[in-house]
């Protein structure tokens, strides 16, 4: 992994090293390293099938890796849990792609599930109140708490999923493509919500996304998954300075440029301009070398 800016000296809530994941013969990750800084929004990008979701599932313990070390909030995920510890699963929240709400429970009851599971000592009344303000915190109207998931729109389902992910006031928030399938207005609102919640609750956010607007809008740093590894982690201008073909195509493709134009940041645009020229130059030199040979 190339960490493009190594002067950080704080904590790393997520620390992955040497991770290898394989499905049968098919190798997904090979010797993958990634460190997430405390309090940042880390965007994880990569082509389809590069194992972004598998990486997330490995970190949260849904997928046992073939080898490697994973440390989350100071706890080694490869070792059995110490009973005295506060359950690590109560210290993170996960929003799955489709929301993954329990379809037989109302939204409010969905939010109450983790509370009931981890803290049965909390009274019913307080639990109900917590569920209510979490629903509201996620930007849903109060009456949504009494609706079933099948009665909600796609965007509302994601917000309800977020409310459940936030039920225990986690330190870490995993979001798997939170804006996929949302209309641009809904997606922008969700981005703002993520940013706001991160600021107020002091969250560290691990965000898998394909949405370039989301990357520009809320991510502090971006990790790029390619070639079975995290090839680079850095801010977008830092990434643009690299001449990896996939990164260039990703950020300088038509959609990347459109998202950038929407951002209206002269500094970023300058960086993109320079990197695009470099890429063209690199391409030309490639061509000349092939014709020469």
């Amino acid at each position: 992994m190339t960490d493009l800016n190594d002067d950080y000296s704080g904590e790393y809530p997520i620390c992955v090293s040497g991770l290898t994941n394989a499905f049968g013969e098919h190798l997904i990750h090979e010797d993958l390293d990634l460190k997430v800084r405390k309090g940042e929004v880390l965007g994880v990008v990569g082509g389809s099938g590069t194992g972004k979701s598998v990486l997330m599932r490995s970190i949260i313990g849904l997928q046992t890796p073939s080898s490697g070390e994973i440390e989350v909030l100071g706890r080694n995920m490869m070792e059995p849990e110490d009973e005295d510890d506060i359950d690590i699963r109560s210290r993170w929240g996960v929003l799955f792609q489709g929301g993954a709400l329990f379809s037989t429970l109302t939204v409010g009851e969905n939010v109450e599930v983790p509370l009931k599971q981890f803290y049965p000592e909390i009274s019913d009344q307080l639990r109900g109140e917590i569920a209510r303000f979490k629903v509201r915190l996620s930007g849903l109207p109060d009456e949504a708490a009494f609706k079933f998931p099948s009665e909600l729109s796609g965007g509302m389902k994601k917000r309800a999923g977020l409310a459940r992910a936030l039920a225990l006031d986690p330190e870490l928030l995993f979001l798997d493509e939170p804006t996929a399938g949302l209309d641009p207005i809904g997606a922008a609102a969700f981005d703002n919500l993520t940013r706001e919640l991160k600021e107020t609750l002091g969250l560290t956010v691990f965000l898998i996304t394909h949405d370039l607007d989301t990357l520009y809008a809320i991510c502090d740093r971006v990790a790029v998954l390619a070639d079975k590894k995290v090839i680079a982690v850095g801010t977008i201008p830092e990434l643009l300075a690299l001449d990896h073909p996939w990164i260039q195509e990703y950020f300088n493709g038509p959609r990347g440029r459109a998202a950038l134009a929407g951002k209206n940041d002269p500094q970023l645009e300058a960086a993109a301009e320079v990197s695009a020229e470099c890429a063209v130059a690199a391409g030309e030199s490639d061509n000349s070398s092939t014709t020469g040979a």
């Binding site: 506060i86 803290y119 109900g128 209510r132 225990l168 609750l201």
Partner: protein, 370 residues
């Protein structure tokens, strides 16, 4: 170790009301019973002091704000983080929007009414479904190229061939039970030889096909309901419709036909297995040799008994497959619905099969096939 949240009351000087001092970690994992203890407290405090709080999250913020609001007092000593959380949690002062709950009697009556109308409309819809199936069968006969032969063979394999082992074993054991128990009773009249009549006729006429129908309802009727129901949930059925593929034609018809083709074969096979089971036990328990039992069976079981079994089988198959497919197509909403619809498919199928079997029994006796 968890550091539980706690509170104490500090008497302030100068006759002012005392201050409620919260301490410890005001977080969801350490809040414990603080909430109920705070609710039990009376009023009469001048302020809530948070300066002793080591850590706070939205739950702690909510609890503090709620207490302050209820008693109309100030919050002092809040950290910057606490202030931010207070703002985020916000006010929830308006009444909780509870879903309306009607009185018990009206609710029960309404549910009863719903049940009755659902029975009625369910019956009408089932008849409609059957009619649609007939219409589809008609168009398939007119346009045979639209028939899904591959699906038919696939379902025949699942309904029939894959059930051979379990149906065979079940029938063999039932044959043993009938012969053995029948022999015990008939021996009281010195008529244990009639065990052969009992086993042979009962297997061919009734039990072979009835038990097979029950087994197929449990194995395949439930599978039909769950498969089609899941396809409804994942919008596969809708996708088919938009492409112009009729679900009736591609999903229901092959399943129903497969069941109707396989059930007579399975039923006959079950009857044979049951007779073999009877012969097997007679060989040991009754001193009737195995092959003598089979020869005698041929003499005492009239061919009409075989026909009765074979006539009933496709009718039972139609009911089982129709119930499965119909319930599957009724699924909408959530995963729980798939389960309840599957249960309903099996229960209605078995119940209807047994009711019809009673009618058949009376009918065939009346027309002289005794």
């Amino acid at each position: 170790m968890r550091q539980w949240a706690d509170f104490s009351v500090s008497e302030s000087d100068g006759g002012k009301a005392p201050v409620l001092v919260l301490s410890g970690s005001l977080r969801v994992h350490s809040i414990g019973d603080l909430d109920s203890r705070l609710r039990a407290l009376g009023g009469g405090y001048s302020a809530i002091d948070l300066s002793g709080v080591t850590d706070i999250d939205t739950t702690g913020a909510w609890l503090t704000m709620e207490f302050a609001r209820k008693h109309g007092i100030e919050i002092t000593g809040a950290s910057e983080r606490a202030e931010r959380l207070f703002a985020a949690v916000g006010d929830l002062d308006e009444a909780e929007p509870k879903p309306p709950m009607r009185p018990f009697i009206t609710r029960t009556l309404e549910e009863l009414g719903d049940l009755v109308t659902n029975w009625g409309s369910g019956f009408v819809r089932t008849v409609g479904f059957f009619g649609a199936l007939m219409a589809t069968m008609g168009t398939t006969i007119v346009h045979p190229s639209r028939f899904r032969a591959k699906a038919l063979v696939h379902h025949m394999q699942h309904v029939g061939v894959n059930a051979l082992w379990i149906v065979g074993l079940m029938s063999f054991l039932i044959g043993i039970v009938i012969a053995q128990q029948g022999a015990v009773q008939l021996a009281q009249f010195g008529a244990e030889f009639y065990t052969i009549n009992l086993t042979g006729r009962l297997s061919m006429r009734e039990l072979g096909v009835l038990m097979t129908a029950i087994m197929v309802a449990g194995r395949s009727g439930s599978a039909f309901a769950a498969q089609i129901g899941t396809m409804k949930l994942t919008e596969e059925v809708d996708a088919m419709r938009t492409i112009g593929v009729a679900p009736m034609e591609s999903l229901v018809l092959p399943r129903v036909l497969a069941a109707m083709i396989m059930m007579p074969l399975l039923g006959f096979y079950a009857a044979i297995c049951s007779i073999i089971g009877g012969a097997f036990i007679s060989n040991f328990a009754l001193d009737i040799p195995f092959f003598a039992f089979l020869r005698r069976t041929q003499e005492v079981v009239p061919i009409t008994d075989v026909w009765i079994g074979l006539i009933k089988a496709p009718v039972f198959a139609l009911i089982v497959a129709l119930a499965g497919c119909y319930q599957g197509m009724q699924v909408s909403g959530n995963a729980e619905e798939v389960g309840s619809r599957t249960t309903q498919a099996v229960v209605t199928a078995i119940f209807t099969v047994i009711v019809l079997d009673a009618f058949f029994a009376v009918f065939f006796t009346k027309i002289g096939w005794k």
